[in-house]
Amino acid sequence: MKASKPAARKRPAKSFKRKQQSRRDFLRASVLTAGMVGASLLGFIPVLQGSSMRLRPPGAIKTPDDEQEFFAACIKCGQCVQVCPVEAIKLADMNDGFGIGVPFLDARAQACDFSCDGLQCVLACPTGALTHDLDYPADTRMGFARLARPDACLAAQGKGFKGQARGPDFPGILRYEEVDRWNPIPVADHPYDLELCDLCVRQCPIEIRIAQCAENASDDQRDLARVAQQMGHECPPKHAISLQPLESDDGVTRMRPVVQEGCVGCGVCEMICPVESAAIVVDLDKNADTLGG
C-alpha cells in the first residue's frame, strides 16, 4: 500500500498516453475476439441451412431432422472410421460447419453392409455419440430407402442384369459370405448374371440376415435357442425390402422393390443399384420408427 502512493502521484503525467495505449489494446483484443468467435460461428450456417445433414453411422444419436445432439456428443476423433471393415465412414470437412470432423457415409460410394457383424463403430465410439443402446444391425435407424426413380429400375422394366454391378472401376466393397466369410471384396470382382435384376433385395444386409436365420432354423429346430444366441436374439429381423410383381399386359414379368418396415437405411441398395443414377436411394428425413409413429 505504501509503495502505491508515489506511483499514484506519477500517474497524471502518463495518463493520456497510457489511456490511449490501453484503449488501443482493448480495441485490438476486441477485434481479435470478434473475428475468431465470428469465424467459429460461421459453422452455424451449414447447420441452419441443413446442408450438413448426412447419412450417419449406426447408432448416431439423432432424429431424422435434428443432428444437434450427435454433433455435440461427437469428439471428432475418427475411431469409428478406423474400425470399419468396408471403410464406409468418412469425416466431414469444414463446409459442414459445426459438423466438422463428424463421421458420415456416402451410401452411393460405399454403404454400411454390417460386415463387421458386431457394430464396430458403435463399440469404438468413446463418447456415446454412436449409442451403445444399439445391439444388432436391425436396431439401426440411419434412414429409410425409397424407390426414387421407379422408371429407371431394371426390375420394373422387366430387365435382368449381367456383369459388374457398378462397372469395372467401382472401388466399393461388400462382404459376400459365400466367397469369403470374413473379408469384404470389391463389388467389381463379383459379377452377376440375373434374369431379373434383384440386386437391392439380394444384397440387403437385413434380407441376408433373415435368410441366414431361416437356414439355421430349418437345420434343426431344437437348436433354435443356440442359433438365436448366435444371431443375437434378433433372428429373424423384420423384412426390409422385397420384390413385388407389377401388373403387366404384355406377358413380361415386371417387379418393383418395395421398402418395408425392417429397413435400417444402411444404403447398400443405393450403392449396388446398377443404373446411373441410382433408382433407389436412402432418405434421411425418415426412418422405420418415424414411419410407424
Binding site: A3, D25, F26, R28, A29, L32, T33, M36, V37, A39, S40, L41, L42, G43, F44, V47, Q68, E69, F71, A72, A73, C74, I75, K76, C77, G78, Q79, V81, Q82, V83, K90, L91, D93, M94, N95, G97, F98, I100, G101, A124, P126, T127, G128
Partner: protein
C-alpha cells in the same frame, strides 16, 4: 501456494507483479547485490561465445523428433493397422486404453450435457498423464500446430528483420476471455463451436484421415501469425493451452531457474513463446535463488537451449533431488 497462485494468474493472462524486496530471500538479495557493477557487456559476450560451442538446440531437436514421432504413431496406427494409437489427438485409444483430450471433452460435456463413462476414463487418464509430464508439455511436444507455427515464427522473425512486418502483441487477458466465451458458446448453442476452428483438431485429422478444405483455415491462421502477430493462436486464443496450463500447475516436470550465474540479458525471453513466465529472470524478479518457472510454460526447452550460463534447466521435482 505461491507457485499455484502465480501460475493460474499467468495462465489467464494476469500480470504477476515483481516481488517486493521484503518478499525476496536474503540469499537472492545477496546475489543481486554482488552482481551490481559486475555484469559487463564484454563479460556477457564472452559467455555467449563460450556457449555457442555447446549450443546445439538439443531440446528443440528432441522435441521436434518427439512431436513428429507421436503424430506419426497416430498415422501409422491407421495406415498399417497396428492399433497402437487409434483415433486422433481429440480422442484415442492407446493400446486399447481410452484417452480424451481434456478441452475437447470439456466442450462435449458443456454442449451435450451428458458424459459417458468411457469419456470420464479418457479424461482421467489424460489428466494424470499430462499432470505427470508438465501440462502444457502437450502444446510444444505433441500439438502439430505448434510445429507449424514455430516455423511460421522463424519466417516472421526474418520479415521483421527485413523491416517488412511488425509484431503486434495483444493483451494476454484475451485468452481467458476466449476460454470463457468458447465454454459458454458450447453450453448455449449445444454445439462444440471451438472444434470448428481448432487447428490442433483439424491438423491431427488431416494427417490421419487425409487433407481437406479446413487446412485453408490453418493456413490463414499461420499467415496472420507471420504478417501481423507472432504466435497469435497459441498465445492469445487457444483454450487447449489454458486447460493444460491448469493441469500443469500440479506437475513435477518444470524448468528451474537459478539466479546465481544469470546475466539477466534476456536471451531466454526472446525465444520464449510465453515470455511472461520468464519474468523471474529479470534482475530483481526472483524470490528464491532456485525458483520454478510457472505452469504456463510449455516446457519446450528453448530457454534451456539458449541460456549462456545454464541458469535454466529441466527438473523433475522430487526425482531430481533423489538423482543427485
Amino acid at each position: 501456494m505461491r507457485y499455484i497462485r502465480d501460475s493460474l494468474k499467468q495462465v489467464f493472462g494476469f500480470r504477476v507483479p515483481r516481488p517486493a524486496k521484503e518478499q525476496q530471500s536474503p540469499e537472492v538479495k545477496a546475489i543481486y547485490e554482488r552482481k551490481k557493477g559486475e555484469l559487463t557487456k564484454e563479460e556477457l559476450e564472452k559467455v555467449r561465445r563460450e556457449h555457442k560451442g555447446t549450443f546445439l538446440n538439443k531440446w528443440q531437436k528432441r522435441r521436434w523428433a518427439t512431436l513428429v514421432f507421436v503424430n506419426f504413431l497416430f498415422v501409422a496406427s491407421y495406415y498399417f493397422d497396428v492399433q497402437l494409437v487409434e483415433g486422433s489427438l481429440s480422442g484415442a485409444r492407446v493400446i486399447g486404453f481410452h484417452m480424451a483430450d481434456l478441452n475437447s471433452a470439456l466442450q462435449i460435456a458443456l454442449a451435450y450435457k451428458h458424459i459417458v463413462l468411457n469419456l470420464v476414463i479418457g479424461m482421467v487418464s489424460v489428466f494424470v498423464f499430462w499432470m505427470l509430464l508438465g501440462g502444457r508439455t502437450f502444446c510444444s511436444w505433441v500439438c502439430p500446430y505448434h510445429l507449424l507455427s514455430e516455423w511460421a515464427e522463424y519466417l516472421h522473425f526474418w520479415l521483421v528483420k527485413k523491416g517488412l512486418v511488425k509484431d503486434h502483441p495483444f493483451n494476454r487477458k484475451v485468452r481467458g476471455v476466449f476460454y470463457v466465451v468458447f465454454a459458454l458458446l458450447a453450453l448455449v448453442t449445444g454445439y462444440t463451436v471451438f472444434e470448428t476452428v481448432s487447428p490442433t483438431g483439424i491438423l491431427s485429422r488431416a494427417l490421419i484421415y487425409g487433407p481437406g478444405l479446413a487446412l485453408i483455415w490453418v493456413g490463414l491462421l499461420l499467415l496472420f501469425e507471420v504478417v501481423y502477430s507472432r504466435r497469435a493462436w497459441c498465445r492469445y486464443v487457444c483454450p487447449i493451452g489454458v486447460t493444460y496450463g491448469m493441469v500443469g500447475v500440479f506437475s513435477p516436470v518444470r524448468v528451474k531457474y537459478n539466479a546465481e550465474a544469470c546475466h539477466h540479458e534476456g536471451d531466454c525471453r526472446k525465444v520464449c513463446l510465453v515470455p511472461h513466465v520468464l519474468d523471474l529472470t529479470i534482475r530483481g524478479g526472483a524470490v528464491e535463488v532456485n525458483q520454478d518457472v510457472a505452469s504456463d510454460c510449455t516446457r519446450c526447452g528453448m530457454c534451456v537451449d539458449v541460456c549462456p550460463t545454464d541458469s535454466l534447466t529441466y527438473e523433475i521435482k522430487g526425482l531430481s533431488k533423489m538423482l543427485k
